[in-house]
């Protein structure tokens, strides 16, 4: 088993240097259970397949001699019925016994995160004391070794919340709230993607997940709670002003500036995120500028119109200002 796993992992590394999306690179309690289960199933499946093919070739190549009917009956009943019954009974027992753990809710008092899917991004909400929440988008941070409870919903069509390295996927269905809980076990940067076909840009709905120590997590959440700092330099003031006058605030909230926009992702701390556009472009001024100018080219049929009619300098000022919203 170990040998097999090592060889396969070698093959994996050969084709992928980067395991941020990999279900075989588990960093969460659920993903670990499933990855271990996979290796067992994979090994057994290979064994059974080899057995079958050897048997198949034997039956084809063997010269027919006198055969006892009893022996064939043994083959059919033994190989066709008894063998699968035994294998499947064992497999049902071992594979379904972890199921309760996988679908169990996190203990009372655990961190809860609400995520809702929308075409084609993720709205993320962390609780702030009682009945208060802070809204973020497209990036989730989790403290390591602490159970987390996700509440998942959808704002339009069906999406599916999948961070392969941490846990299996759960669908986000309009009119329902689905749940997912697990414990991240390794710090690191992981990524996820929408797994349910959700329209034109389904391929461009990704998610960044950071698993960090509790202390780092607290610092991060504290920072995210704060409103955005007001623009201080003339250049950033130009950006901020253009952001308001161009109408961006009618869709996007930047806490401290305007909380009117609820349609699009919250941009209060956009500069602190790893990627923009729901996990598709590296976060830097150039990308932000490109996004403002070529929105629909980067992400077909996205709701946000391209703001290529703004003077180029204004586009640049906005992106520089946004990049500063750390």
């Amino acid at each position: 088993m170990k040998q097999l796993k090592a060889e396969f992992l070698f093959l994996c590394t050969l084709v992928s240097c980067n395991g941020q999306y990999s279900a075989l690179n588990p960093a969460g309690s659920s993903a670990k259970i499933i990855a271990d289960m996979f290796w067992w199933l994979f090994g057994i499946a290979i064994l059974i397949w080899i057995l079958f093919v050897v048997l198949e070739f034997y039956t084809v190549l063997v010269r027919p001699g006198p055969h006892k009917l009893n022996r064939t009956r043994f083959l059919v009943i033994g190989g066709g019925a008894l063998f699968p019954v035994i294998v499947i009974s064992i497999s049902i027992y071992f594979s379904l016994s972890p199921l309760p753990v996988l679908v169990k809710a996190a203990p009372e008092g655990s961190l809860t995160v609400k995520v809702s899917g929308a075409q084609w991004w993720w709205r993320v909400k962390y609780p702030l004391g009682k009945e208060q929440e802070v809204e973020l988008a497209n990036e989730i941070w989790l403290p390591v070794n602490e159970p987390v409870q996700f509440f998942l919903s959808s704002e339009d069509v069906i999406h599916s919340f999948w961070i392969p390295s941490l846990a299996g996927k759960i669908d986000m269905i309009p009119g329902r709230t689905t749940k997912l809980s697990f414990t991240p076990t390794k710090t690191g940067h992981y990524r996820g993607a929408c797994a349910e076909y959700c329209g034109t840009s389904h391929a461009l709905m990704h998610l960044d997940v950071k698993v960090v120590e509790r202390k780092v997590f607290n610092e991060w959440l504290e920072k995210q709670k704060q409103p955005a700092a007001r623009a201080a330099t003339p250049r950033s003031q130009t950006g901020e002003k253009a952001f308001v006058t161009s109408g961006c605030i009618s869709c996007h909230t930047v806490r401290g500036l305007s909380t009117m926009g609820q349609v699009g992702p919250d941009l209060t701390h956009i500069g602190s995120r790893h990627r923009i556009g729901a996990g598709i472009l590296k976060n830097n001024t150039a990308s932000l500028h490109r996004w403002i100018r070529e929105t629909g080219i980067i992400k077909p049929e996205v709701k946000m119109p391209a703001f290529d009619m703004l003077p180029v300098d204004e586009q640049k000022a906005i992106s520089e200002w946004m990049e500063g919203l750390k």
């Binding site: 499947i88 599916s160 929408c194």
Partner: protein, 835 residues
């Protein structure tokens, strides 16, 4: 003496020839005989296979490298939707119906299937619907909701005509599929040769019987779902809109109640081909015949209880996950039995080397990989990761190509001598096999890895940091190797074969009945319908071919120059009727054209054209039935040879028409039960169902409706009796009363929701009541039309006291409608009152 016999034989053949002559020139296309229709059907579904294959290559080009822009997102989404849709609905199901229509009569020693015009109608519907659905791609208007069409993406978020084309175009094709399955079931149950008792039925026919019955119960839930989804798209009835009480998951249930059996509907006929081919090359009868039959039946049953494993990630409770997980794994057991019966047959037998065997052996080895990953996926925890990832794409292609396409290729090489009279090339066959085998594995094996590395399905692009670029490039290279393999097959099929000599008779030395055909085959099919005493008559019945050829069995002659075949009893195959089947006609084309018009115009919401087309379709079908069914024969009985005299006309359970009605109504009732399932599904997921601010249809009108419809049924039964007693006046009177009751019942059902002004767009409750009421009312109205038809038949001297098939079948129809009416009333009036 010999000379006289020879002359008699020649006279017989002349008459047979005349009866079964294929029209020439442009009238060729009016032929309805199974050999021609089956051939067109096969060629058409293969054409759709190649079309969808080209779409697959486009997909692989787009995914060959990261961030590719060979296709736009919009194009890619249309193409992957069409690839799945065409492969499933225009290739995988039709090809099995095509092969069965083509070969079953030969396997059963019948001259034709019982309803040749129904086969032809089904074919023309399939062709028309297929071209309509595929054509949309060239106008950029193709469906793009995936072959699974999940709402609400496909309701409010895709305003174009694409989703309507999918819903209506495919409903049209599904109806044609159900027509074909009715034909196949009745064919297998009633058109077997004398002596072919239930334990001697060819293994292929057993499988087809199982699969056709599965279609009967699997397609109607999808048709019901299609109706609901289209009602939401066209008229804003909120079946899947969560804000008005609807639920997107209802679609998923209905879709997968169809979709899972669908997998076995595709897989079992191909396994049936293997079960026919393997014994031939092993030169021994199939080992474990009854085991294989029971396994096929068992797989069919089980397949209806597994659909939830397509929904493991929708947040269902753990207990459902566990139960459906275990049930899904259990299906490996009957599958294992079938495979091991094949292995046992090969073990005992000689295994002659031949191209069909290559495909059979390669197919089994490939399929087992898909079966094993299938067992893995049935395990809910593993499914949480693998679901909707490329792992699934790998798995499903191993199952469908290994379990279905390989056996079909084996079948093409195996049956070529019967179908085109010539053997295909061994050399090209081998090249094709190796290219397909290697190309297939290179394409699809890496997908298991890319899925587990985090690549979701149905994405039009991916970035390099996903870490799946190399794997995808390998898959794309494999796809082109695979494509080359299919090109070789295409060349082998299409290359000019004029110089090639005809194959010898029974070139593979098979033991099954279809190989008693002369090559090239004669239009009349089998020379005389044999008495069967074995599963492998060519091996085990002495002098068999000689006796068939010399007309020593049944129906060696067509004395009245009419197309005739034998009908036998269901279980023990005792001859009960000499059935006359109708010949060439263009009426089926018109019927298909108008039925197609009905669905196609509805797609564009051209309601006037839709209505006109629907009425014309109805009129054409009535004309078709009027002229082409239940002919009153010139004599009661006829000598069919071997001293047996059989009636020419039958009604009731001995008649094929009665069976067709019964089977069709089972499918119809299944669609209705699916709608009822919807009602109770909403009830289980909602606190208040019916909601407080909704009004119901009351109790009076639904109950009145149900009583009137039931009364109409009783009156029809009475009218049937009066017809038998030749009391004409009373017959007309009572039947007229029945017509009145049917129509009044239909109106009474509609009156309930109308009187209480139920608004179907307000909440899913109102919409559900309306849909049940409309369904019932339409069926009752159709019943009235049928009752009028019976009156006209008697007036037109097409039906008499003795020859009463029409009223017998309508009475059967009415009994189903009475059940429908009673259930509707109980649900819409009784349920809210009781709860």
């Amino acid at each position: 003496m010999e000379e006289v016999k020879d002359r008699i034989r020649q006279e017989e053949e002349k008459r047979l020839n005349k009866a079964w002559r294929v029209p020439s020139g442009w009238r060729y296309w009016s032929e309805v005989n199974n050999s021609e229709v089956g051939m067109w059907y096969t060629v058409t579904s293969l054409a759709f296979f190649f079309f969808a294959g080209v779409l697959a290559l486009l997909i692989r080009v787009q995914l060959a490298v990261p961030d590719n822009n060979f296709l736009t997102a919009e194009q890619y989404n249309q193409i992957f939707t069409m690839h799945g849709t065409v492969m499933m609905f225009l290739f995988a199901i039709p090809i099995f119906e095509a092969i069965s229509i083509l070969l079953l009569p030969q396997m059963l020693g019948a001259r034709d299937l019982p309803f040749p015009r129904l086969s032809a109608y089904g074919y023309w519907c399939f062709l028309l619907g297929g071209i309509f659905v595929c054509g949309s791609l060239f106008f950029g208007a193709a469906p793009k909701g995936g072959w699974f069409m999940y709402p609400p993406l496909t309701t409010s978020y895709q305003p174009g005509v694409g989703a309507d084309i999918w819903l209506l175009g495919l409903t049209f094709i599904e109806i044609a599929s159900i027509a074909a399955s009715v034909e196949l079931i009745v064919g297998i149950l009633k058109c077997r040769p004398p002596g072919m008792r239930i334990n001697l039925i060819p293994i292929y026919a057993w499988y087809i019987l199982v699969v056709a019955i599965m279609i009967l119960f699997a397609f109607p839930p999808l048709i019901a779902g299609d109706i609901l989804l289209e009602m939401e798209r066209a008229f804003n009835w909120p079946f899947f809109d969560a804000s008005r009480g609807g639920d997107p998951l209802l679609w998923q249930h209905l879709f997968w109640i169809f979709g899972h059996p669908e997998v076995y509907i595709i897989f079992l006929p191909s396994i049936a081909l293997l079960a026919t081919i393997i014994p031939t090359f092993a030169r021994v009868p199939l080992i474990g015949y009854s085991w294989v039959v029971l396994s096929a039946v068992g797989t069919g049953f089980l397949s209806f209880g597994l659909w939830v494993h397509h929904m493991f990630t929708t947040g269902l409770p753990g207990i459902s996950l566990g139960i459906f997980s275990a049930a899904s794994q259990a299906v490996a057991i009957p599958t294992g039995v079938q495979l091991f019966c094949f292995l046992a047959t090969l073990l005992i037998g000689r295994s002659v080397k031949a191209v069909p065997m290559l495909f059979a052996i390669g197919g089994l080895a490939t399929f087992v990989i898909g079966g094993l990953t299938g067992v893995m996926l049935a395990i809910a925890p593993f499914n949480f990761q693998a679901h909707d990832s490329f792992f699934i794409v790998g798995h499903l292609h191993y199952v469908l190509i290994g379990g279905s396409v390989f056996p079909i290729l084996a079948g093409i090489y195996y049956y070529a001598p019967i179908i085109i009279g010539k053997k295909l090339s061994d050399k090209l066959g081998k090249i094709c096999f190796w290219l397909v085998l290697i190309g297939f594995n290179v394409t699809f094996f890496p997908m298991h890895a890319s899925g587990l590395l985090g690549m979701p399905r149905r994405i039009y692009t991916y970035s390099d940091d996903m870490g799946v670029s190399t794997l995808n490039l390998i898959s794309s290279i494999g796809a082109f190797i695979l494509g080359t393999g299919f090109l070789v097959l295409l060349w082998d099929l299409l290359r000019p074969k004029g110089k090639l000599s005809y194959s010898e008779r029974n070139p593979w030395k098979a033991g099954t009945l279809e190989w008693s055909m002369k090559i090239p085959d004669r239009m009349w099919g089998i020379r005389s319908i044999p008495m069967i005493k074995s599963r492998y008559p060519l091996w085990e019945q002495p002098n068999f071919i000689h006796d068939v050829d010399n007309g020593h069995f049944y129906l060696p002659d067509a004395a009245e120059v009419m197309r005739e075949t034998l009908v036998t009893s269901t279980l023990d195959a005792k001859p009960v009727q000499c059935l006359r089947v109708p010949g060439p006609t263009f009426i089926t084309h018109l019927a298909a054209l108008f039925s197609g018009g009905f669905f196609i115009f509805a797609t564009y919401h051209w309601w006037v054209a839709t209505t006109i087309s629907g009425i014309l379709a109805m009129a054409t079908i009535i004309y078709w039935l009027w002229t082409g069914s239940a002919w009153i024969p010139e004599k009661e009985e006829k000598d069919v040879g071997l001293g047996v005299t059989l009636p020419i006309y039958q009604s009731g359970p001995h008649a094929v028409g009665w069976w067709a009605m019964f089977i069709t109504m089972l499918a119809d009732l299944t669609a209705f039960i699916s709608l009822i399932f919807g009602y109770f599904f909403y009830w289980t997921i909602q606190q208040n169902f019916p909601p407080e601010d909704s009004v119901g249809p009351g109790i009076f009108w639904p109950v009145t409706g149900a009583l009137l419809i039931s009364l109409s049924w009783l009156l029809t039964k009475l009218a049937k009796k009066l017809n038998n007693q030749d009391k004409a006046i009373l017959f007309y009177g009572i039947l007229l009363l029945a017509v009145f009751c049917s129509l009044a019942g239909a109106l009474a059902f509609l009156a309930g929701p109308l009187k209480y002004q139920m608004d179907p767009t307000h909440h899913v409750y109102e919409a559900t009541v309306w849909i049940l009421v409309i369904w019932t009312a339409l069926h009752a109205a159709l019943g009235a039309l049928m009752q009028l038809y019976c009156m006209a038949r008697r007036l037109g001297k097409k039906m008499t006291a003795k020859y009463d098939a029409d009223i017998t079948n309508v009475s059967l129809y009415e009994s189903f409608i009475a059940i429908t009416g009673l259930i509707t009333a109980m649900v819409i009036a009784g349920f809210p009152a009781a709860s």
